[in-house]
Structures are given as C-alpha cells and as structure tokens.
Symmetry: C2
Subunit: 340 residues, 2 copies
C-alpha cells in the first residue's frame, strides 16, 4: 500500500496498517534490516572468538534544528553511537534506531533524515538492524527525537580505558574543536550570527582502528561531545588519578569558532563536538598515532594538545597563551542545550 | 556531590557536573551498571556457543500518564523490550535505557520510575548496563520518554518465526486481553471512567522458556502490544500464508474491559496489552504448553483462542458468538495514542 500522506498523523503510530505503511516505506525500505521479526537475529564470527567482548551503548538525540550545516539529527544519531563504541576499542557492527515523531512532521523530512542515517551507516560499516516508531500529538515532542543503540565487538586484548592514562602520556585530538557547537548556535538563528562553519559530525570507527594499529599501547579515548573536551579530560583525569595539562596555544580552533566564542562569551573548551575525540597514547607512540590520524579525512587536523602528569592528580590545568596556568573544571551549569 | 534539586533543569543535560550528579544519584546508583565507560563491555558464555545467535531489539516508550494502575513508563520500558526478545526465542541478557526528560520533571518521579525499572529487570533476570540522559526545555517533550534496547541470546536450534505457523496449529494466549489498553483509557481521566482494572504489564521471558520446554516445536510468538491481538494475528497470517480462525466465545476478556469497550465503542481485539503474547504450537503440544503457562502467575489465565487453517490464506477470521464469521483486519487508523 502506498503512503499518500505528506505529514505524520497519530494513525502512523497506532499499531495498524498506517503504521506498517510508514515503517515499510520510510524506514525498512531504506535500512533493509535482515528479516522483519520483532528482533534482529545476528551472528558474527568475531563474537565467538576467545576473549572477545560485546560492547553495548545507547544515546538519545534531541538536537535542534533537525538539519544544520554539515549534518542532521540522523547523521548525529549514527555517528554518535558508532563513536561511543569506537572510543572503547570496539568494532561497531549493528545499530538500532527508535524514532519519537511529533504529529505533523513532514514525511519528506523523515525521508531525508533516514537517507542520511543509511549513508552514515554505510560509511561506518555498520547496519541498522532493528527499530521502532512512536507518534505523539502536536506539542508533545519537538519535531523528532532519535535514539540509537549500538552493538560491537571488542577484540581480545584491547583494554582501552579512561582509567589507564599514566603520567607522560600524550593527549591527541583529531582536528579543530568546537565546530559542531558553534554551528548549532549559528544555525538556531536567534543570535544573528552567520558564521561560515559546518558541524564536525563524523563517524570515527575507521580512525580508531588506524590509531590502534599505529599505537598499540594507546590508553584510553573519548569522543568530546556534550561538555566539550573539558568534560572528557576531567573524566579521564578523575578515572586515572593522573593530572592533565593542556596548552592553550596548541588547541586547534578555527578563527570563526574563536569569533563566535568571543562574541557570546563562551569557552571553546566546553563546546560540543560530534566528530572529535581525545586519545591518550604513550609518548613513544604519539608520532605514529598522529600520522595514522592525519592519513584520514576525519583526522587531517590531528595534533597534540597536552599530556598527563604526576602533579595535581585528578585535575586538569591549562597553560594559557600568556604563560599562566588555570584549572579547567567540569562545566557546572549548561552551555547550550539540545546540542546533540 | 549531592543532588539538591527537586526538579530537572536544563543544566542536568549539559554534559557537566550537574548532569554527572543526576546520572550518578538517580540512575547508576540504582542500576549499578558494570563499569562506567561510554559503553558496557560484556561477556556471556552463551554467546560463544556454536549456533547461538544474538538478538537485538529496541522500543521507545511515550505512554501517558507516566504512572498508572499496575505500572509506569519504566516498567513498560523494561517489560516491552524483554518481551520482544523473549517471543523470538531469545534469552534476554542486557538492556540499555535512554531518557529524554522535560525540564521541570520531578526528580522524585524519576526515582520511582528508575526503581520500578530496576525491580522489573531483576524479576526478568536482565541487567540495565548502559544508558543516556537528555534534557529538553519545557514544552519540548511531554514529561518523560524512555527508550530501551535489549540484547539476548537465541540458543542453537531455536527457530521461532511468525512465518512458521502451519494449518492445524493452535493459537494460545497467556491471559485475559486488553487490560493494559483499558487501564490507560481509564487512567487518563478524561472519560469519567473509573474501571477497576490494572495493566497486565509483565515480563514474559520466564513464561516463554517454560512454554518452549513444554512445546519444543512451537512455531512463532508475538507480544500483543499496539494494535492488540488483531495486529499480531494478521502479521502471523501474512508472514506464514496460513489462514487464522479465532473464536469470539473463547476470547478471555474481563467484564470490566468488555464494559469499557461497549461504552466507548472500541473493539477489544485492538486493545493493547503489555504482558500478553500469542503463540502458535502444534496441536499435539497445545495441552502441555497451556499447562506450562498456567503454572506461572503471568500465565494463569492461559487459553486457546483459535487455530491456523488452510482456508483463506493470509487472512484472520473470527467465529462470532452468534455463529457467524467476520474478517479481523489490521486497524486502519489508530485506536488510542500513547498507549505504550
């Protein structure tokens, strides 16, 4: 049966024929999940290998606007979950995708977002194998929320952990920071900013594999989303008990992002990213890790931003451009809601 | 740091210290997930057994009201995902839980819902191992949405499938139908109904294991949620190409549910359930399957409601109380939004 509606109605969530039409035409015809049962049934030789572990993660995405320069909520939903798997050393395999849709949402918009998800999944080498659709009345949700969960396999012997960071390890990032946060700020339009920035949103699974091949003793990595690199550096300092020092001059920031931050009084350390990670590697492996990142488009701007130290355990400090030093704390409040 | 707020604020979703406090105090202190990395890292001997498959499923829950007689959104979120795994023959192992919270939601309400989830997970023998929290502004979501995903293991040799139903198979249900749908209708309060009904919401993993032990050639099962038993019977008829005949007189319905349906002009075949499944078994195994269900609290009201036939392939028919016969179709529109 053909889907003739141009907007989602409550009937599309009712469990009947209208819902089946929506799911088949908009979702499963694009994602092509294996089988159509209530659950995906999956086999992977990698899972049965001795010492392999299963990695499992989830994130809800509520970003507004739903489409923005460089991405959309679907692209973030795929990349975000792929990245959560990848930074733990897992090879991402399968994703689920659950949609909460506000009545009245344009079906053409849904189709664009679904196409974007399928494209990102293919780039990342994962399959979207199961899903769900709920419809809520006008005003009960803001357009569309997407929740993805991901399953991957951690090969035997990989023990990446925030707690494994040790003094003298080098902190690397894979590119300029804060583009996603600044893009969303500008895209909301209510700040009269027209910055020429696009979101950094990208899947980092292939990059993590390349880094781990080049730096087999890498300690731990995190994708720096909500809370920015300040949040992940604090998490790693706290988990490992090491101190961390970053160098303000070394932080890779676009001029446009600096500008947005100056105008709005924001600190780029707290700006969200959707395609940036921080990884700590032993000093001896730092050059090889950087070279591996720079060989990939999503790591072209890779650089070292600091290191772990024995001083001030559990604390993150920044050497400022003027030679001073200041504490980089977790954000106490919120810098920008609905960034992802 | 102690959580002093009584309501959720945007800061609780910002990626900083307030979010960490909320997550630690309200969620992880109760769910006690293994480890605190971005992902759960899991091992299960069952996954490595030859022929075992991984089952993966997801559902978003948007039920309103958030608390109702017999359950709450958290209980449904755990049971619904456990049941999706179980009806496919999987043994549920791990769940993820992602929360989209409207600013202003009472933290005491969140705590009750989280406690309910932890309780149901324990009953079902699953662990909530990973999660996420997003906060959206007032009016951008209706209180709370919860998305759970589930991972389980299908032991070698289990091939339950809606498409495996064959003529002469018997259709069994595990208890009275429609209690959940009728309860939500009454609980919304805008119908001036005060029916003495509670939701049937329950995890069915243990019941499925008992049925499969008693009826090893069971064909396929579905939990009858949105769209009611009409939806799942149609799905199974279509997938298998068999006809299905159900007997109106045999349908187990509470008097109160019949009453609600009569007053509102609803058909109980389309009422949602959250703890009811339909399973097709070979005739020779029907009695054993019924006995296995009736031995458990969640199967006390089990009975046969019909069978698969060679006639009218792909179509569901009901023999009415007056001896006639009518087609039971998929619901075309929606009977009741936000039932789960």
């Amino acid at each position: 049966m053909a889907l003739r509606d141009t907007r989602v109605t409550l009937a599309h969530g009712g469990g009947g024929q209208a819902m089946r039409d929506l799911i088949e035409e908009v979702f499963t015809s694009v994602f092509e999940p294996p089988g159509m049962e209530d659950q995906a049934r999956l086999t992977a030789a990698a899972l049965a290998e001795p010492g392999a572990r299963l990695a499992f993660t989830t994130d809800s995405f509520v970003v507004t606007p739903l489409e923005f320069p460089g991405g959309d909520i679907g692209k973030i939903a795929v990349c975000g979950t792929v990245n959560d798997l990848a930074v733990g050393g897992a090879r991402p395999l399968w994703l689920s995708a659950a949609f909460i849709i506000e009545e009245g949402t344009e079906i053409a918009l849904l189709r664009r977002i679904v196409a974007s998800m399928a494209h990102e999944a293919e780039l990342a080498g994962v399959r979207i194998v199961t899903g769900d659709t709920k419809v809520v009345g006008r005003g009960a949700a803001d357009g569309l929320f997407v929740t993805t969960s991901g399953v991957g396999v951690i090969p035997a012997g990989r023990e990446l952990s925030a707690g494994a960071v040790r003094p003298s390890d080098v902190a690397l990032v894979n590119g300029v920071l804060g583009d996603h946060g600044a893009t969303i700020l500008a895209a909301r339009g209510d700040l009269a900013l027209s910055a020429d920035i696009v979101s950094d949103c990208a899947g980092l699974g292939h990059l993590m594999e390349a880094v781990l091949a080049a730096a087999p003793n890498a300690r731990g990595a995190r994708d720096a989303t909500r809370g920015g690199i300040a949040a992940v550096l604090n998490e790693m300092a706290e988990a490992s008990g090491a101190g961390i020092v970053i160098d303000e001059v070394a932080l890779p920031l676009r001029e446009e992002v600096r500008g947005v931050c100056e105008i709005l009084g924001l600190d780029p350390l707290y700006l969200a990213n959707e395609g940036r990670l921080v990884i700590f590697v032993p000093e001896a492996e730092a050059e090889a890790a950087l070279a591996a990142m720079r060989a990939l488009p999503e790591g072209r701007g890779a650089c070292a931003i600091g290191r772990a130290v024995a001083d001030h355990p559990g604390q993150v400090r920044m050497t400022t451009a003027f030679g001073g030093s200041r504490i980089v704390d977790m954000l106490v409040g919120e810098q920008l809601p609905r960034i992802c």
